[in-house]
């Protein structure tokens, strides 16, 4: 089996081992300082108790570090290689077992591509036969995800919204806690913000084409392959290209933090609101007739077109937001 060349890196290994063997290097001194309890009031009794406490804490740390040192010594000399080899061997065995078990199950599944597979039952039959007249969407998949099984797709958009909030929690540099102007951790194009000429020139040429294609995919979601998710991702890519071409601060003046979060908020609110009206009326038997228009035209398929536009906007701004959070720490 070719050697997996993820050797244990010498440099990091040295830093960890010298921390273990001879006490604390610079990195760790300030970390342990942060952990010591605040000083007690200056009364004499409190002073002695404090010293006793410090003494005991220091002895604890001594005992702890030589325990680590002994563990480390064993692992470096003999245990590490065996432990790692055993772990790798076990991992390969477990994965092999899982794959064998799954392959055996697959061979017992109904054959692929046959007409009589249990999957082709009345559920998929109705999506195809009565899909166009019930949802107005010519693309059965868009009709299914935005009308028949709309609750999954609503959960789907909230997964995307939740991920953008979580990444914002991690990577957004807030003005006040970063003293002074927010240092851009990096701009992909290195020093100057406009990047080298090839990227800039090609982006200026390519951006309108990609943006147009993305918009077309979003708008034709119900009558051709594509839809909110695919079109949104293409538009997100186009925005990233634009921020490289026209320079990051000019684009961030156009799409500011406030505007982007408000746009995502309104799109998601409209999406959740429209869908909860449909769910409520459907469950309580209140008839709700939305004009479906005639198939193959853009203004057809009732709610699916506005929902596709909302999903496209949400996906585009979220993907662009991810990119800006990684490169600049904010919109």
């Amino acid at each position: 089996m070719p050697k997996i060349n993820d050797r244990y890196p010498a440099s990091a290994h040295k830093r960890v081992s010298d921390w273990l063997t001879n006490g604390f290097t610079g990195l760790d001194r300030e970390m342990t300082q942060a952990e010591t309890p605040p000083a007690a009031p200056s009364a004499e009794a409190a002073g002695q108790a404090e010293d006793a406490f410090q003494e005991k804490a220091r002895r604890d740390r001594e005992r702890e570090s030589d325990l680590y040192a002994r563990l480390h010594h064993w692992s470096v000399t003999r245990g590490e290689r065996q432990a790692r080899l055993l772990y790798r061997f076990l991992a390969v065995i477990v994965c092999g077992g899982i794959v064998f078990f799954l392959l055996r199950t697959v061979s017992a599944l109904p054959a692929l591509g046959r007409v009589d597979a249990p999957v082709n039952n009345e559920v998929s039959y109705r999506y195809i036969s009565r899909g166009p007249e019930e949802t107005g969407a010519v693309n059965f998949v868009s009709g299914m995800i935005l009308d028949y099984r709309a609750f999954d797709t609503l959960g789907e958009s909230s997964v995307l919204f939740l991920a953008s909030c979580a990444v914002m929690m991690l990577l957004r540099l807030d003005r006040d806690d970063a003293k002074g102007p927010v240092p851009s951790p990096l701009s992909l194009t290195g020093g100057d913000l406009h990047g080298d000429d090839i990227l800039r020139a090609s982006s200026l040429v390519l951006f309108p084409v990609i943006a147009l294609f993305g918009a077309a995919v979003v708008l034709n979601g119900h009558s051709s392959p594509g839809g909110g998710f695919a079109g949104g991702a293409i538009l997100g890519g186009a925005l990233m290209l634009l921020s490289n071409a026209a320079g990051e601060e000019r684009v961030s003046r156009l799409i500011t933090e406030r505007r982007a979060s408000l746009a995502i908020f309104t799109a998601l609110l409209f999406y959740a609101g429209a869908k909860s009206v449909v769910f409520y009326t459907g469950a309580n038997g209140i008839p709700l007739d939305i004009p479906l228009g005639e198939p193959f035209s853009i203004l057809s398929a009732g709610l699916i077109l506005p929902l596709d536009m909302c999903v496209g906007l949400i996906v585009a701004l979220t993907m662009y937001g991810f990119y800006r959070l990684f490169t600049k720490g904010g919109y």
């Binding site: 890196p9 970390m31 007409v115 999957v119 195809i128 059965f140 953008s164 990444v167 991810f322 990684f326």
Partner: protein, 124 residues
């Protein structure tokens, strides 16, 4: 064995890809490669799900002008489910990468065992 690959081609390949992704996740200690392993595993499960709906010799699930007979199209349900799955795996990858960047800024290493060791040492 031959029957497995003749009438279960996509599903068997999906299971193999799942195994390879899982092995990449377990064996590599570099965090970015673990995330790539996770992506490979997710895509393998989606291939398995999407191959359920495939029917030989039928049109893709978009209504054509002349063809109105329902038995001329492929089953659209798995396509819709996998569409949801792909966007889930993008958001999960973004979150994992954000965590990796924050941990690298703090511990300057991408080796997950070292991160846990240094984090635990910090708590004394």
């Amino acid at each position: 064995m031959a029957a497995l690959f003749s009438d279960h081609l996509y599903e068997a390949a999906a299971m193999l890809l799942f195994g390879v992704g899982f092995t990449t996740l377990l064996l590599n200690r570099n965090l970015l490669k673990k995330i790539i392993g996770l992506n490979v595993m997710d895509t393998a499960v989606y291939l398995f799900l999407a191959s359920m709906g495939y029917i030989e010799g039928r049109f893709p699930p978009i209504l054509r002008e002349g063809v109105t007979d329902a038995s001329a199209y492929v089953n659209p349900v798995p396509a819709g489910l996998v569409l949801t799955g792909i966007v889930v795996s993008v958001s999960v990858t973004a979150l994992l990468l954000a965590l990796t960047v924050r941990l690298y800024e703090r511990f300057r290493t991408l080796n997950i065992d070292e991160i846990v060791l240094l984090a635990r040492k910090g708590e004394k």
